[in-house]
C-alpha cells in the first residue's frame, strides 16, 4: 500500500475513534440549521429565512469556529507523535518526510471536508426542500467549498506550529495565539488603520492586505456574492473592490499550500 494512503487511513481512523468527525459534523449541522431557521430572530424580526442573512450569519460564525476546530484537531499531529516516540520510529520506516506529512494531511483534511459537506450540506438540503428560496444550491456550494478551504488552511498552519515546537503544551499555546490573531486581532488592527484615516490605504490596497488573512478571504468570498446591505464594517468597503471570486479562491488555496510547503522544509531539518 502506498505509504501516503496508509498514513491517511490511520489518521482518518483516529478521527473516527476520537469522535472528532461525529462531533464536528454535529456542530456544523446544528449551527447551520439553527441559523437558517432562527437567524432572523437575532435581528429582532420573525420572518421566513432569507438566503443572504443565513449565509452572512453562518460565515461570521464559521470564521471563528472552523479555524479553531482545525487547529484543535491538528496542533499535536507531529509534536504529539514526537513526544510519544512514534515519530522517531516512523522515520526509520521506508517512508519519506513528504509522504508522512501528505498522508497526515490527506487523513485529517478528509475529516474536515466530510464534516463540512455533511454538516452544512444538510442545512442546505433542508432549506431547499422546505422553503422556496431560489439559488440555494450555488450559494451553499460556495460556502461549503470555502469552509473546507478555510479548514485546510488552518490544518496546514497547525502542522507548521506542530513542527516548530518540541512540546505539546507550547504548540497548544501558539495555536491559540494564531487563532486569535487571524480571526480577531488582524481585523481590529485593520479597522484601526481605516478609522485613523490614514491616506496610505486605498480600497484596493485594503483587499490586498486582506489577502494575508485566510479568514478574511473566507468572509470576502462569501459576502461578496450577497446583498451588500447585510454586510457592514471593513468588509463592506472591501467587497466593492472587484476581485473575482476565482482569484480569491486561488489566494485561499495558496494559503493551504504555502504553510504546508514550509512545514515540509522545517520537518526535513528537524532533529529527532
Amino acid at each position: 500500500m502506498n505509504p501516503i494512503i496508509a498514513v491517511g487511513l490511520k489518521e482518518f481512523q483516529d478521527g473516527l475513534r476520537n469522535r472528532w468527525l461525529v462531533s464536528i459534523t454535529f456542530i456544523f449541522s446544528l449551527l447551520s440549521i439553527g441559523l437558517s431557521y432562527y437567524g432572523s430572530v437575532a435581528s429582532g424580526q420573525l420572518s421566513s429565512p432569507s438566503l443572504s442573512t443565513t449565509i452572512a450569519s453562518l460565515s461570521s460564525l464559521s470564521v471563528f469556529i472552523i479555524p479553531l476546530i482545525a487547529l484543535l484537531l491538528c496542533y499535536d499531529s507531529f509534536v504529539g507523535e514526537q513526544e510519544s516516540g512514534t515519530l522517531l520510529l516512523l522515520m526509520t520506516y521506508p517512508i519519506s518526510h513528504a509522504q508522512l506529512l501528505l498522508g497526515k494531511f490527506v487523513g485529517q483534511a478528509s475529516i474536515i471536508t466530510l464534516a463540512t459537506v455533511i454538516g452544512f450540506g444538510s442545512a442546505g438540503a433542508l432549506l431547499s426542500f422546505t422553503t422556496d428560496i431560489g439559488s440555494i444550491g450555488p450559494a451553499f456550494s460556495l460556502f461549503i467549498i470555502t469552509s473546507t478551504l478555510l479548514g485546510l488552511c488552518f490544518i496546514s498552519l497547525a502542522y507548521l506550529i506542530s513542527l516548530i515546537v518540541n512540546e505539546k503544551s507550547k504548540a497548544a499555546g501558539i495555536a491559540l495565539i494564531v487563532w486569535l490573531f487571524f480571526v480577531l486581532i488582524f481585523d481590529l488592527a485593520l479597522l484601526a488603520v481605516l478609522v485613523s484615516g490614514s491616506e496610505g490605504l486605498t480600497q484596493h490596497g485594503l483587499v490586498q492586505v486582506m489577502m494575508f488573512n485566510p479568514a478574511d478571504l473566507f468572509r470576502l468570498i462569501n459576502l461578496s456574492t450577497l446583498n451588500t446591505s447585510d454586510v457592514s464594517g471593513v468588509l463592506a468597503v472591501a467587497i466593492n473592490s472587484g476581485f473575482s471570486t476565482s482569484a480569491l479562491l486561488a489566494a485561499m488555496l495558496a494559503w493551504v499550500i504555502a504553510p504546508l510547503g514550509l512545514a515540509l522544509i522545517i520537518f526535513r531539518q528537524k532533529t529527532l
Binding site: 500500500m1 505509504p3 496508509a6 498514513v7 487511513l9 490511520k10 481512523q13 483516529d14 475513534r17 476520537n18 510519544s84 516516540g85 512514534t86 522517531l88 520510529l89 516512523l90 522515520m91 526509520t92 520506516y93 521506508p94 517512508i95 519519506s96 532533529t271 529527532l272
Partner: protein
C-alpha cells in the same frame, strides 16, 4: 570483507555535547552485539546513526554497504527492525490496528501481523485499545513491531524493560531464532543478568567513548577478573597447600586468574574429601562494573595530571 554494519571513527557532536567520540563498531550477519553503558553514554545516538535518522559529524557509517542517511539506503529500511526506548503507541487504536498500520508502511502482509501478535502472546488483546494495555503488553507490541518483515538487522533499545521473567525468556528465544535465520542484532540493555548467553560480543560505552569491546571471554581476560571457586568438604586443607593458599580469600573460597583455572581445578580434584565444587567466572555485571569504574578512574587520573 565488508560488514553488515560498520562504523569507523564516528563522532557525533550536538551543540555542547559530544554524544559519540571516534567510535568504531562492526556487526556481521548472524551476530548479536550487546551494547552497554550508563544513561547518556551514547547508546541511543549510536542506534539513530545506524538507522540514518541523524548523520555523523565525522567518520563513516555504513549499513548494508551504504550510508544509511542517503536516499539509496531507503529500501534497506524494510529489512531493519527497530524498537525505540520508551515508545508509546497510538492509545486510541487497538493492538491489531497499530501493528496493521506499521505492517502497511513496511509492505508486509497483514497475516504476518496477526501471527507476530500471537508469538508475543497478545492474541487475547488484539481488539483491545492500547490505552488499556499494561507496560509489559506495550513492550511486547513494540517487539512485534520490530520483528515485522523478518528483518536482517534488529536494533533493540532496552527490549526487556517491563517484561516479566517468562516474557523475557520468550523474547530471547525469538532473538535466538532470528539470529539462527541469519539476522544481526544490536541489543542495548540495562538488565545485565540473562543477556550473557544470547550475545556474541559486547561493547561498553561511557560518555561517548568505547571503553571495551570484544567477546565476553576476551573482555574477561582484559579485565583480568578472577574466577571464583567455592569448595565444600576440604576443611582447612586449602591453607595447607602452597599452590592454593595464595588465591584464598576465605576458608572455602578461591579467586583465581582465568589462565590458571584448569590447573587449580585439577589440583583440587586430587582431594578425595572434596564433596562439591562451584566454579563461577566473572559475569557480565562484574565486567561492566570493572570497565566503567576503571575507565572513570583513569580519566580522572588524566585530568589530575594535566
Amino acid at each position: 570483507m565488508t560488514h553488515l554494519v560498520s562504523l569507523k571513527g564516528v563522532t557525533k557532536q550536538y551543540k555542547q555535547l559530544r554524544a559519540l567520540d571516534t567510535v568504531d563498531l562492526s556487526l556481521d550477519g548472524g551476530e548479536v552485539l550487546g551494547l552497554f553503558g550508563h544513561n547518556g553514554a551514547g547508546k541511543t545516538t549510536l542506534m539513530k546513526l545506524i538507522l540514518g535518522v541523524i548523520s555523523a559529524t565525522s567518520g563513516d557509517v555504513s549499513v548494508f554497504g551504504r550510508d544509511p542517511s542517503s536516499k539509496q539506503a531507503w529500501h534497506g529500511r524494510k529489512s531493519i527492525g527497530y524498537l525505540p526506548e520508551n515508545v508509546s503507541f497510538y492509545d486510541q487504536l487497538t493492538g491489531l490496528e497499530v501493528l496493521t498500520y506499521f505492517a502497511r508502511l513496511k509492505s508486509v502482509p497483514k497475516t504476518q501481523a496477526m501471527s507476530l501478535l500471537a508469538d508475543v502472546g497478545l492474541s487475547d488483546a488484539l481488539h483491545r485499545q492500547v490505552k488499556h494495555y499494561s507496560k509489559g503488553m506495550r513492550q511486547r507490541l513494540g517487539l512485534a513491531q520490530a520483528f515485522l518483515g523478518e528483518p536482517k538487522l534488529l536494533l533493540l533499545d532496552e527490549p526487556t524493560v517491563g517484561l516479566d521473567p517468562i516474557a523475557t525468556q520468550e523474547f530471547y528465544t525469538s532473538v535466538d531464532r532470528l539470529k539462527n535465520q541469519g539476522a544481526s542484532v544490536l541489543l542495548c540493555s540495562h538488565v545485565l543478568p540473562g543477556v550473557e548467553q544470547h550475545i556474541d560480543r559486547a561493547m561498553i560505552l561511557a560518555r561517548g567513548k568505547t571503553v571495551a569491546a570484544g567477546t565476553l571471554s576476551e573482555l574477561r581476560q582484559q579485565a583480568s577478573l578472577p574466577v571464583v571457586i567455592k569448595t565444600h568438604g576440604i576443611n582447612g586443607a586449602l591453607a595447607a597447600n602452597s599452590k592454593l593458599a595464595g588465591f584464598m580469600v576465605a576458608a572455602d573460597q578461591l579467586h583465581i586468574p582465568e589462565g590458571e583455572k584448569m590447573a587449580i581445578i585439577k589440583e583440587l580434584m586430587s582431594y578425595d574429601s572434596l564433596s562439591d565444587i562451584q566454579v563461577s567466572p566473572a559475569n557480565l555485571e562484574q565486567i561492566y562494573q570493572h570497565f566503567l569504574n576503571g575507565g572513570e578512574s583513569s580519566t580522572n587520573a588524566k585530568e589530575l595530571a594535566q
